[in-house]
Amino acid sequence: MHSVPSVRTYVTIWAILTVMTFATYYIAQIDLGQWNIVIALLIAFFKMSLVIFFFMNLKAESPLTKLFAAGGFFWMILLLGQFFVDYMSRTWMPGGKMW
């Protein structure tokens, strides 16, 4: 039904993931201010993509499955984004002056 990836692919992905884990651990020890969390999350997203596309073999799945996988993340961003429509703008109006 699907092509079967080789062991070498899996081990390579694993190696990258492990290296990334240690990278994120050590980068966190350096004070980069706001960038610490940004880099940590970028690495996390990268690791997630590797797991999804290779371990979960999404790259060989049908477009429909890809759509659903993407939908999940889209909805989570929707949730977070709309929380922040409120929380980000709460401090915008000292004294309640609008327009």
Binding site: T18, T21, F22, T24, A40, K47, M56, T65, A69, F84
Partner: protein, 241 residues
């Protein structure tokens, strides 16, 4: 969830594993896989709710979260990440073996996955124990006074954030707790799949349960990939301050 497309078939037409209401094995496999992805959608939103709330509070109390995060032990966290990634590798290899019809390799990789999964839970247990001993578990804070984030010689900066520290610890226990529950379920699934494999249920023609259990396992791994930096690493650099 994962055990629903089981081996027991009622209507044998082409394959003994084809359930009566499907026309073909391919349809059955696709349905099961799609079903699992849809279930993972649900799981994303389940954890998403917690991640959302976490993000809101982190944006409200960035300093408190950063300094409270110092109470976490990133070495444990990193070790657990590594363990979980290895288990994901063995799970992927287990699925691969199943696809190739190699029952023996399948069983070996399932056992390995299970061992790493349990190792994760054991490490997590040590970690929880450490928090318990340090009185960092905010259980009944008003009655037992069983928690204390303030008089901490090692982290004097911490004293100021007692209450918000409690919020981060709540998130810590909720998120890692729900994750650990998912791990436990995962280990249970591994046992089920292993027993099915020993009975010789799987072949290169029928490996649906292995495939979808793999999806579940990798998902749980992904959750941890995010929990690790968000809970353990947000304050580390501030040790220098």
């Amino acid at each position: 969830m994962a055990d629903s497309h089981g081996a027991v078939a009622e209507h044998a037409e082409h394959s003994p594993h084809l359930r009566h209401h499907f026309d073909s094995m391919e349809q059955q496999f696709d349905s099961a896989t799609l079903g699992m992805w849809v279930f993972l959608l649900t799981e994303i939103m389940f954890f998403g709710g917690m991640f959302g709330a976490y993000t809101v509070y982190r944006s409200m109390y960035p300093e408190a979260f950063a300094s409270t995060s110092l109470h976490m032990n990133p070495a444990f966290g990193a070790a657990n990440t590594a363990v979980l990634i290895v288990s994901s590798l063995t799970m992927a290899l287990a699925v691969r073996s199943a696809r190739l019809g190699s029952n023996k390799a399948l069983q070996i990789f399932l056992v390995l996955t299970m061992i790493f999964g349990i190792a994760f839970l054991v490490i997590k247990g040590f970690e929880y124990h450490e928090h318990w001993v340090d009185n960092k578990v905010p259980l009944f804070p008003d009655q037992w006074h069983h928690w204390d984030y303030s008089n901490d010689a090692e982290h004097p900066h911490q004293a100021q954030f007692g209450r918000q520290a409690q919020i981060l610890f709540c998130f810590y226990f909720f998120m890692t707790g729900f994750h650990a529950v998912h791990m436990l379920v995962g280990v249970g699934i591994m046992i089920t799949i292993l027993m099915m494999a020993r009975r010789g249920v799987f072949s290169h023609k029928y490996f649906t349960p292995v495939e979808i259990s793999g999806l579940y396992w990798h998902f749980v791994d992904i959750v941890w990939i995010f929990l690790f930096p968000l809970l353990y690493l947000i304050g580390n650099a501030r040790k220098l301050i």
